[in-house]
Amino acid sequence: MSALRELYQEVILDHGKTPRNFGKPEHVTSESNGHNPLCGDTVTIYLEVKEGIVEDVGFEGRGCAISIASASMMTEVLRGKSVKEIGAMFKRFHHLVTDDDADTEGGFAGDFGGEDFEKLTVLSGVKEFPMRVKCATLAWHTMQAALKGDDQEVSTE
């Protein structure tokens, strides 16, 4: 598969076109805005967190296929996860989109997120496109800020 096809897989294009969990959920306990000044992309992440567990999640935003798909796919794997587990998943995700040995058994990233994490591995094609890594990680950074209750806008720069 060419690097381009690897990047723009069906699943990604699908999430880009019809993002899941798009919109503001009913009970929001924290939210955060993210911005990529290079391309003007924006994302808002909404969370409902109860006793350290993410109960509900949604997002809104405007951006390229990669950033929208990444946000959409992220919202699909967060429900029911603990704040701590999500932090570890983010590390693993970051590794996935930036580093070649992301999939190696027993790598530093470990198995956080389990089966759910497997769904995110279609985004690994991004690592061939260093200029686009920020598109894939914007939603994750913003979600982390929302978890921390950080109301400063997240910027990729």
């Binding site: 096809r5 391309c39 390229c64 496109f129 598109c135």
Partner: protein, 416 residues
């Protein structure tokens, strides 16, 4: 009919020769021949410019205006000859009206800070347009913070045409300065600068033109324009980055205080008092981009040998061809179809973000700019976050545009 095809064949022949002067254009990216369509961001350099910069470092390099030794004399002469070269190129009345800067951005900041800071007062008005690059917006906002001027914005229409009548309504007795682009980097629009200058002068306002794009796409004569300040960058004119020009009418420059303080801009310094140098040295504090002046001089020689009018004609031909070819694509919307345009096309593809298009074109070896083009207010005007922009230099040909159109087909294939 015959005459026309003879001319364009001739052009094709010429372009092939010009293209061969630019070593970088022979590069391959991802094993594909490079198709470079981003000259509006920065142009590639002909061998003669590369050689001139090397010549400086290999044979004549020393600091200028300081040494008594042979080398310093040589480099000082070359630096000052470059100034004369620029004077001739834009037909300034005197080489003293040519201030070397880092580029357009610094030239505009110089005027805002020095002229604006000393001549303008709270409540004075300046007029910009909706087409401006951030470089011709932010310096004026900084000035507004400093002294409380008012900034008015001349509007454009849906095609990106500058609306002269609306502009005229903004002129008031309090208008002191009009700072407008001479060519939009994002849409290509060339505003009616002759009328803008005439109307502004009739109301007693000065005019600064941001010539970063315009100086590259056709002949510029600052005396015929009767413009008060004109700013441009070397790097878009096939010269080095890090050197640019502020033209200012001598009387205006003479009345302006220094922009930065340091070496080279003084007559004498004591701890009590410093006497500033005359123009243009007063505005050139510190060691400048010496080799850059060699390169800029060579760049001006290069485009002058081809002829700015010939370059303009060639780019207009490419613009018509590109506009027609792109309009064949159903889902494509051109942003900016003004009546008078330089060789720049900006567009959107239905349902595909500019960033994704940029990535896919890149893998086809095609370099275009995607995003807001440092003109966010303009993007907002069209309610978009960005466009794909292809811009043409003297070395581009129809095959480059065909490659772009074909690659846009590949984008559709991936996204449909």
């Amino acid at each position: 009919m015959n005459a026309i095809s003879a001319v364009s064949e001739n052009t094709a022949f010429n372009v092939a020769r010009w293209r061969a002067d630019f070593p970088l254009l022979a590069e391959q990216v991802y094993d594909k021949p490079l198709v470079f369509l981003d000259s509006a961001a920065s142009a590639q350099k002909p061998q003669s410019v590369i050689d001139a910069v090397s010549y400086c470092y290999e044979h004549e390099y020393a600091n200028i205006h300081r040494g008594v030794y042979w080398l310093s004399q040589k480099s000082t002469e070359a630096y000052e000859q470059a100034r004369v070269k620029v004077q001739g190129f834009i037909n300034a009345a005197s080489e003293r009206e040519i201030v070397f800067t880092k580029g357009t951005t610094e030239a505009i900041n110089l005027v805002a800070s020095s002229y604006g800071g000393s001549e303008l007062q709270a409540g004075d008005e300046i007029i910009l347009s909706h087409l401006e690059h951030h470089a011709n917006i932010v310096p004026w906002q900084l000035l507004r913070q400093r002294i409380g001027i008012e900034i008015k914005v001349a509007p454009i229409d849906e095609q990106g045409n500058f609306l002269l009548e609306e502009f005229e309504k903004l002129l008031s007795p309090r208008t002191r300065l009009v700072a407008i682009t001479h060519g939009s980097n994002a849409l290509g629009t060339i505003p009616p600068v002759d009328d803008i200058i005439r109307l502004s002068h009739a109301r007693g306002a000065l005019v600064l033109l941001d010539g970063a794009q315009a100086v590259v796409h056709g002949p510029v004569d600052v005396q015929a324009l009767d413009v008060d300040f004109y700013a441009f960058s070397g790097h878009k004119l096939y010269g080095p980055s890090g050197i640019g020009v502020l033209y200012g009418k001598a009387d205006l420059l003479k009345a302006m205080p220094p922009y930065q303080g340091g070496g080279d801009m003084i007559k004498s310094v004591t701890f009590e008092k410093t006497e500033f140098a005359d123009i243009p040295g007063r505005f050139e504090a510190g060691t400048p981009h010496i080799a850059g002046a060699y390169g800029l001089s060579a760049a001006i020689d290069y485009v002058s040998a081809i002829g700015m009018s010939n370059i303009a004609r060639h780019e207009q031909e490419l613009l018509s061809y590109a506009t027609a070819r792109l309009q064949e694509i159903n889902s494509l919307r051109l942003i900016g179809t003004a009546d008078n345009k330089a060789g720049i096309v900006s567009f959107e593809l239905d349902g595909v973000h500019a960033h994704d298009i940029g990535t896919i074109l890149d893998r086809e070896g095609i370099a275009v700019r995607v995003g807001h083009h440092c003109a966010q207010p303009l993007m907002e005007r069209f309610n978009i976050t960005g466009t794909v922009r292809a811009s043409f230099g003297l070395y581009n040909n129809k095959a480059d545009i065909d490659a772009l159109v074909a690659a846009l087909g590949a984008v559709r294939e991936i996204f449909d």
